[in-house]
């Protein structure tokens, strides 16, 4: 479905389904009502999924609210400076055979895994020692 949606937006609308780019341009007031429509569709998905017999969206948060706020800030800065997130670089960019996007994807997955390693394994071990 993610791949089909990305293909559809590209072939029907001529746009890349890069969420951070769509959101960034929308909130910065850059013209394009289609961006807001895409975002509304995205927000509507958890409401529609049970009606369509698909799984219910439940988030089991792994972090406290302060950690989530710091995470949001870093994700906002990082995706804008790095021109993309999981969808834009990770799905669309790689599907477009972009070495730039492949590099970005390897870096953000690497740093995310490193962060999880520090939080889940390194810090608890140091605290226990």
């Amino acid at each position: 479905m993610i791949g089909a949606a990305a293909s559809g937006l590209l072939l029907v609308n001529g746009r890349i389904a890069g969420i951070s780019g769509i959101l960034g341009n929308a909130v910065r007031g850059i013209e394009g009502t289609w961006r807001w429509a895409f975002l509304v569709g995205l927000i509507a998905a958890p409401l529609w999924s049970p009606l369509l017999g698909l799984p219910f969206a439940i988030a089991h948060h792994q972090a406290g609210l302060i950690q989530i706020a710091v995470a949001g800030l870093l994700v906002g800065v990082g995706t804008q400076i790095g021109s993309g997130c999981t969808s834009g670089h990770g799905v669309c960019g790689i599907a477009n055979f972009s070495l730039r996007s492949l590099t970005a994807t390897a870096i953000f997955i690497g740093f995310a895994a490193l962060t999880v390693f520090v939080l889940r394994h390194l810090l608890p071990r140091m605290a226990g020692a």
């Binding site: 559809g8 609308n13 998905a45 698909l54 089991h60 949001g72 994700v75 799905v91």
Partner: protein
Amino acid sequence: MRELLTIFAAGLFGLLFGLGLVTSHMTDPAVVIGFLDFAGDWDPTLLFVMAGAVCVATPAFVFARNRPKALLGEPIILPARNRIDRPLIGGAAIFGIGWGLAGICPGPGIALLGAVYGGTFDKGALVFMPALIAGIFLSRWRPLRNALGAS
């Protein structure tokens, strides 16, 4: 009329994208962290989700490459940049740290704004999204852009 169709189509693709995120459990930070936790009980499911999405989208991108216009008559806009530069690397690293801290990336964060359980919205999304939008504006701040080598 064409403008309206463009907006309607974008809404539909947003919904489809979101349904994909919900169905693949990318909206659940527990599943995302499980995928990122290589040293723990690694759950490769999301690797298959991403690889599957890439496989489905690849023919569309190949097809789009030599076409100037999309179905609704708008120009097809493909990114022209291919340089691997400092902002790309620094930005991706900062994003990765944020992603690892909470297990939420922008798509699932937005979709979770619409998740309602027991009559309440998802608190995590209500905190994450304003912070993300603050981050978007912070990313325009000149000293920060200079420090990260962004134009």
